[in-house]
């Protein structure tokens, strides 16, 4: 659009608007103007008017911008965060090492205890004492855990795994069957029924906790049936969101452009999405029907079902109905007419009517526009953006006209052209906002 030539050379500085000489200082320019062009009073007046108008416009623009800012917050990044995980790991590692060692020792002792365990109580006691050294109880007057003193009613007990002395309240029992389980040899127990009747091991709470923790970790990797269903649901959702919906929107936009050949494909994608949504619905229903033994898992399944119903609703409702073949052809027809009209009229100075095809085309250019937005889109300075957007094109044309009119000193025309430009600006901004809102909407769903 900007052909290089004398007309378009940009001059800067304190120029005299009539003889285009740079005076360098405002005072000099003023004096020159009074000397040389004092008779051109009309011109001065029109100049003043122009400045007044420009001022008005700038003020108006400012107000507009302020209001805009009032409603749309600037994009906000996440606030400060501070991670303590490194220090946490450092502390934990030290502690866990110590704990793992203790656990291993305890398990090894338990294995030894269970190996050739005699059934006779007396022999068993001797066997227990040979493996773990029992603490001498004569000097221990208080239970080391609860610090209550021992007497006839609160007797001393030995932990079979570490040999320390505790009272009855600070000890627990490990059934033999469980003990065999702990060392991973449930089958090695030859006399199951007899073992059941045998007394369990008395342990102090610490050793009990160590074994209990070890047991728990075994179950950690077990997953209930719910997880399988849930994984399948996630798979379906990903397919809809990351694949099918994008494809659908693309074809839908093409249809709106009047490309009727995509109708069958769009229909197929549409039915695929609906099918997947149905699968999600069915799976979440199956999760809901699962037998749950705990209250929290009941709540969880209910919530999963709720979330999936929402998800299905929002996806299915977000897919617009496809236009019929007739409608598509109408659109194509209208588009052709618009194109012809544009050819006939050439580049019209008036504000173009927004044909539906233009706004639809805009949707397909969403990404492009977004990019411009992020670069700090400003309607005035980006005059040379070579956009395909007809509005921008029109704006550029008008800007050129304004320039030419200014050079021809036709200031009345400049003013009217500027009004046009202003309207176009507003229109463009509205479209931008519209497309941005739409993109927000689509990401939300």
């Amino acid at each position: 659009m900007n052909e290089p030539g004398e007309e378009n050379i940009v001059l800067e500085g304190f120029l005299c608007p009539i003889c285009k000489v740079d005076f360098g200082l405002d005072l000099k320019l003023f004096l020159h103007f009074q000397e040389a062009h004092s008779e051109d009073q009309d011109l001065v007046k029109s100049f003043k008017d122009l400045f007044g108008k420009a001022k008005e416009k700038i003020l108006k623009n400012d107000i507009g911008k302020k209001e805009e800012r009032h409603y749309v917050w600037e994009p906000q990044e996440i606030g400060e965060v501070q991670s303590h995980f490194e220090y946490f790991k450092h502390c934990r590692n030290k502690w866990v090492e110590h704990f793992v060692m203790e656990t291993n020792k305890t398990v090894v002792r338990l294995e030894k205890l269970l190996c050739n365990l005699p059934q006779d109580p007396n022999k068993r006691k001797i066997h227990e004492q040979t493996i773990v050294h029992w603490l001498d109880g004569t000097d221990v007057t208080r239970c080391p855990d609860c610090t209550k003193s021992f007497n006839i009613t609160r007797r001393q007990h030995h932990c079979r795994l570490c040999g320390s002395i505790v009272c009855h309240e600070c000890s627990c029992f490990l059934p033999l069957s469980k003990a065999y389980e702990t060392i991973n040899e449930p089958g090695k127990n030859p006399m199951n029924s007899i073992a059941q009747s045998l007394p369990s091991f008395r342990l102090c709470v610490h050793c009990g906790e160590v074994l209990e923790n070890r047991e728990q970790t075994k179950y950690r990797d077990q997953k209930p049936l719910m997880c399988d269903y849930y994984d399948k649901i996630v798979e379906c959702r990903n397919k809809i969101e990351n694949d099918l919906l994008i494809k659908f929107n693309q074809t839908y936009n093409l249809l709106k452009e009047g490309e009727s050949s995509y109708l069958t494909e769009a229909n197929k994608i549409r039915s695929d999405i609906v099918k997947l949504a149905e699968t999600i619905d069915a799976l979440s229903n199956r999760i809901l029907k699962l037998e749950n033994d705990t209250n929290s898992s009941n709540v969880t399944t209910k919530n999963i079902r709720l979330a999936m119903i929402q998800c299905v609703q929002s996806t299915v409702l977000a897919i617009p109905a496809l236009p019929s073949l007739k409608e598509i052809e109408e659109i194509a027809q209208r588009k052709r007419e618009v194109a012809e009209a544009r050819l006939r009229n050439g580049q019209d100075t008036n504000k173009p009517k927004m044909s539906p095809s233009v706004s639809k085309r805009h949707n397909t250019q969403k990404n492009e526009i977004k990019l411009i937005l992020e670069d700090g889109w400003s309607p005035v300075t980006n005059a040379n953006v070579n956009s395909e957007n007809p509005v921008v094109e029109q704006m550029n044309i008008i800007k050129n006209y304004i320039k030419q009119a200014k050079e021809a000193y036709r200031f009345d025309e400049v003013a009217s052209l500027e009004r046009n430009l202003q309207e176009l600006n507003e229109e463009y901004f509205k479209m931008q906002n519209g497309s941005r809102n739409m993109s927000d909407y689509s990401t939300k769903n």
Partner: protein, 459 residues
Amino acid sequence: MDLIQAVKLYIIKMTEDCGPGMKVLLMDKTTTSIVSAVFSQSEILQREVYLFEQLTSTSSSDSMYHMKCITFLRPTSENISLVCKELRNPRYGYYYIYFSNIISKTDIKTIAESDIQEVVREVQEYYADYLAISPHLFSLNIPSCGQCLSWDPLQLTRSTQGIISVLLSLKKNPLIRFQASSKMSKQLAEKIKVIFSKEENLFNLKQGDIQPQLLILDRREDPVTPLLMPWSYQAMVHELLTINNNQVDLSHIEDIKPDFKKVLLCAEQDDLYKQNMYKNFGEIGEIMKSLIDDFKSKAKNHQKLDTISDMKAFVENYPQFKKMSGTVAKHVIIMEQLSCYVTKKNLLEVSELQQQIACDIQSSQHTQKIRELIEKNIPDEEASKLVMLYALKSFSKDSNRELTSLIQLLKSKKVSEHWIELVHDVMKFQSKIILDNENTLKNAKQITKRFYKVKIFHY
């Protein structure tokens, strides 16, 4: 600078940090309200959080190892010991622990030593330690922060923490300015300053050219405004029906539908409310009327579904329609309540007199008018508010006599003791202010005198 957004971003980050999979959100009482203030249940469900638990000493023992646990807590000592207990017997697969404020190294060490099964995957500070009520307003839900004009030490700490977290979540390191006449403002400012210097690394933030300012003002500076009746929509709802955590409790209304017993008034989700929350009562009435008309015509359109295209249009518009019907019905009920209160409490007349007293128009007739209104049996609180307002605005010697007679009148109308005490409190407060003012005047005189003396010596 959007507070709701700031808290939201933190919580979104939490749900993203732990990757895909079923999640449970483990919170304390305060963080529960922090989260629920910015997220609706459906929103948070879409982020794969399916279970919400409160960390208490009597938590259930249902273990669900297939779930990831996002733990979001305030760093109180009680919470720390509860987390330790939880980690010793973990109920969930992995733990992602977030504290809403600055936590000490020793506390982290304590927690680390409880994590024997190595289930913790993350320990972070995310500074969402306040209830974001609207983009530019937060609350800490402190019912009363002090007594006898001095801080309750616990609440001083909480307020400091709250403000620190607001600043960190907005990434601001401001200059602190406080109201010099208020001791409480000064104390708070000093506390904040201490944390600034203690946590230098945290507050080493990138700033623009202009350093932001933190203004600490004492609400007591202006005792008049809270006594006046507000007439904008949100303020009226709060004054007459009370908004708590964006919720309005309407259960006191007879034969109300169960859906509307507790309604949510949230500008984030309710465009109608967002656009009109600051408009005044009259305007809202008109807007409501036009909305109802509009709505009725739409409902009529929906009644006749003759052609297929009608039905299609109906299905496409239905969710919007249903949502709109819900919001409109909600606001209509609230408006009904408001106008009911306005007539019942004679608020138009009361408010007019309030404004006159506040602006000192025709001050000679105030007592007479107050008396007339009290005789009309306006509710206790309105009557005593008028007397309080009068006490605040009248300084002359006559007014003392007038006030005693007004209080006598209140008593004869059997206004509850609580309100009369409040009137006395306001009178005490007012006399103290007058005294203070005289002192500062005297001080100012002394200073100027000294100033002149110095000048004289200088010459």
